[in-house]
Amino acid sequence: MPGNVLARRSPAAAWLAENGAVAALVVLVVALSLLSSDFLSLTNLLNVGVQAAVTAILAFGSTFVIVTGGIDLSVGSVAALSAITLAWTATDAGVAWPVAVVVSLAVGVMAGLVNASLIAYGKLPPFIATLAMLGIARGLALVISQGSPIAMPEAVSALGGNLGRYLPIPVIVMVVMGVIAAVILNRTYTGRAMYAIGGNEEAARLSGIKVDRQLLITYGLSGAFAAVAGIVLASRLASAQPQAAAGYELDAIAAVVIGGASLSGGKGKALGTFVGALILAVLRNGLNLLSVSAFWQQVVIGAVIALAVLVDTLRRRGTY
């Protein structure tokens, strides 16, 4: 019985076994630092951080949704739409950039609210509702931009740079968004309601939680986080691209699940998601350093996702 073994181990070992993703990350980092001398350099590690940032921010938003037992396939498209909106309002429409940022965030939230309305009031399964939004948001991004990139206002583009000499701003944004996500999940009414809804929606409802309203907030948050991710991505490229972040929703979901969340709801942590996103980024970076071809990289990453979740499931099975 794994449970019994657990009880006897040292607290640190027990914690690692409980947080399988952290253990996996440690193994990965150790292995890569042995295989490649460049891996542990400061520049490379910061690079990994920048690589992880967009996925991580999207994934924090997805964590909310997955904890409620839902799924949000639209985050990549919504990120692109929000970035395009920002760039377009600031340049073509000539609005001051702070206003453009607010408009862009509002677009992300709106997309989330539409998702939630379809789910809560239209009774669509989250998969379908957000799949529709995936198409709609991407299409709107293409319509607004007429298919070509739009330059970001310079003030916003600074987000893609460094603070001081070294510290990349995307990494700072990632950490801030992670802390916000953790606080929401652990400390706020909405966060606790998310766990209750994902664990047992009927019990949540009979305990007085307004499930529909909480779902609106949940998907709204996911949209807002997607908008932030879109802005960070566009800032790094200095231009908003209508095709940006395509497929990122799957990375986000993978990060959340690797981080220990359950797709059936009720389980998941911001820290886990953060580690999940880091694992994906470290893996990509390591495979690049080892000059593994991009084609093989996809194979390896797919296998790692399956493996991570498999180990987690097997570990949990014993306790039922």
Binding site: M1, T188, Y189, G191, A196, S207
Partner: protein
């Protein structure tokens, strides 16, 4: 006495933080009903789960017909002829009754599932347990008692030599219990060895032959089933209990809950009653009489077509749980797993669910305050746990039930609707809960209690309402009513209207 079919020797099983079983022996003999008795968390369910292949023992061995066997999976148990009805349901809610009954081994023709045969077989099984449901109904639409009967039918389908039943009567009314007993006796006489778990002491002499008492994971005694109840209680709890139903009537005040002309087509019709401050009103009736449906509609969990619900003078909007709670209404639902608990969350989280909103300031939850309140209630109810952060799903059934009740104690509702509140709770803990009901009414709260346990209804209510086929058919003063009076009303045919 014949040779045992199944023998368990020195079984031990630990979970993180608890030794659930600590050396248990058990012999199940053909043609005998063996009752397992013990407090909540004593280890009864853990014991039978090791015989059914759900858990593996850490130590000890199991013998079938004198030969040691290794039961690793549910399939192994089935092959050995052991069939189990678990305390928590194992039905797929979305599938029909017939599909559930033939799950895993559906009748086939030309390699495809033969739906006709499946429904026919299901009809036969349902007829054996005498439940009146269409085999094509999805299980989710059955009430909890009928689900239990479907579980029993499912276990019968296996024609097992050893039949294990974990609290099958917890959710049944007297008439269904009687039907079940007829069935169990018939199986017993055919030579099946039956293990039977119950917290209803009066059932022991009625159905059992021998009793094994478990305490803190050990088998402490094996006695004949006609042992006096007091003695059984002493063996089980370690101390005598002098009064099983310590109802202390309180001074009655204003009506706190008023229900007038509540109707929903096909479920209940023109239901009117009130519950006053300090009063315990019991609702009795057969399964399917519409008691739970009325309770859920009053609480706003389901809609109704017409009628009015007033709590403390405030008329409630229909189908609005939140408004009902704001007005001071609480509901302990009958199905703890489906409606009462968030199984993925811990005990503290579950206990704090109802008060989450009140404990929130500017969006932030006062976690410390929530934990303090939860600790108090957990102590009050003597929930057997390793700590507030134990996951609810790893609690014993009775202790899970305490969590559902505890949730509303934390919330301090003015009018509490209890739907089968002591389902699966041991005798000692029942008395604790009754004392809590007394305290609630002493402080001017009102309690509406639905229960299929007639002694409980008679012993704890001040006034008894009886429902049959969706209507209120009578009212009895608790002091004078007898079980027969209640049953006579419960089987009333209601003219003109028919629910379901």
């Amino acid at each position: 006495m014949s040779e045992p079919i199944l023998r368990a020797e020195g079984l031990r099983k630990g979970f993180p933080g608890v030794q659930a079983l600590d050396g248990v022996d058990l012999s199940l003999c053909p043609g005998e009903v063996h009752v397992l008795l013990g407090e909540n968390g004593a280890g009864k369910s853990t014991l039978i789960k090791m015989l059914s292949g759900a858990y593996r023992p850490d130590e000890g061995r199991v013998l079938m017909d004198g030969r040691q066997v290794d039961i690793r999976t549910a399939g192994d148990a089935q092959r050995l002829g052991i069939s189990t009805i678990y305390q928590e349901f194992n039905l797929v809610p979305e599938l029909s009754v017939a599909e559930n009954l033939s799950l895993g081994r559906p009748p086939r023709r030309f390699g495809l599932i033969d739906k006709g045969a499946m429904v026919r077989q299901a009809r036969e099984l349902l007829a054996r347990v005498e439940v009146d449901v269409d085999p094509r109904t999805p299980v989710a639409r059955l009430g909890i008692a009928r689900m239990q009967m479907v579980e029993i039918a499912k276990a019968l389908a296996l024609n097992a030599r050893v039949l294990i039943m974990d609290e099958p009567t917890a959710v049944l009314t007297t008439s269904e219990v009687d039907k079940l007993f007829v069935l169990v006796r018939q199986l017993r006489d055919e030579g099946v060895a039956v293990a039977f778990i119950t917290h209803h002491l009066e059932e022991i002499a009625a159905i059992g032959d021998r009793v094994t008492v478990l305490r803190d994971g050990r088998s402490v005694a094996e006695v004949p089933a006609d042992t006096a109840q007091d003695e059984l209680v002493r063996l089980m709890v370690g101390r005598p209990i002098d009064q099983q139903f310590p109802r202390r009537p309180a001074e009655l005040g204003e009506p706190l809950l008023k229900v007038t002309g509540l109707s929903r087509r096909g479920a209940f019709d023109d239901v009117s009653f009130e519950v006053r401050a300090g009063e315990v009103v019991g609702i009795s009736g057969l399964v399917g009489a519409g008691r739970t449906e009325v309770a859920r509609a009053v609480f706003g969990a389901d809609r109704y077509d017409s009628g009015e619900v007033t709590v403390r003078g405030r008329r409630l909007p229909p189908h609005d749980v939140h408004a009902a709670m704001e007005a001071g209404l609480g509901l302990v639902p009958e199905d703890r797993k489906g409606q009462g608990l968030v199984l993925t969350a811990d005990i503290g989280e579950n206990l704090g669910l109802v008060t989450l909103r009140d404990a929130t300031r500017a969006g932030f939850v006062d976690r410390k305050g929530q934990r303090t309140a939860a600790t108090k209630v957990a102590d009050q109810l003597a929930i057997r746990m390793t700590g507030l952060n134990q996951e609810v799903r790893t609690l014993s059934g009775g202790n899970q039930q305490k969590v559902v009740i505890g949730k509303w104690l934390v919330a301090d509702a003015h009018v509490l609707i209890l739907d089968e509140p002591t389902r699966g709770i041991d005798v000692g803990a029942k008395v604790e809960i009754y004392q809590l009901v007394n305290e609630l009414t002493d402080s001017g709260r009102a309690v509406l209690m639905i229960s299929s346990d007639l002694p409980e209804i008679l012993g704890m209510s001040d006034r008894i309402l009886v429902m049959a086929r969706g209507r209120l058919v009578g009212e009895l003063a608790a002091g004078e009513a007898t079980q027969d009076d209640v049953m006579a009303l419960a089987v009333t045919e209601v003219e003109g209207s028919r629910a379901r």
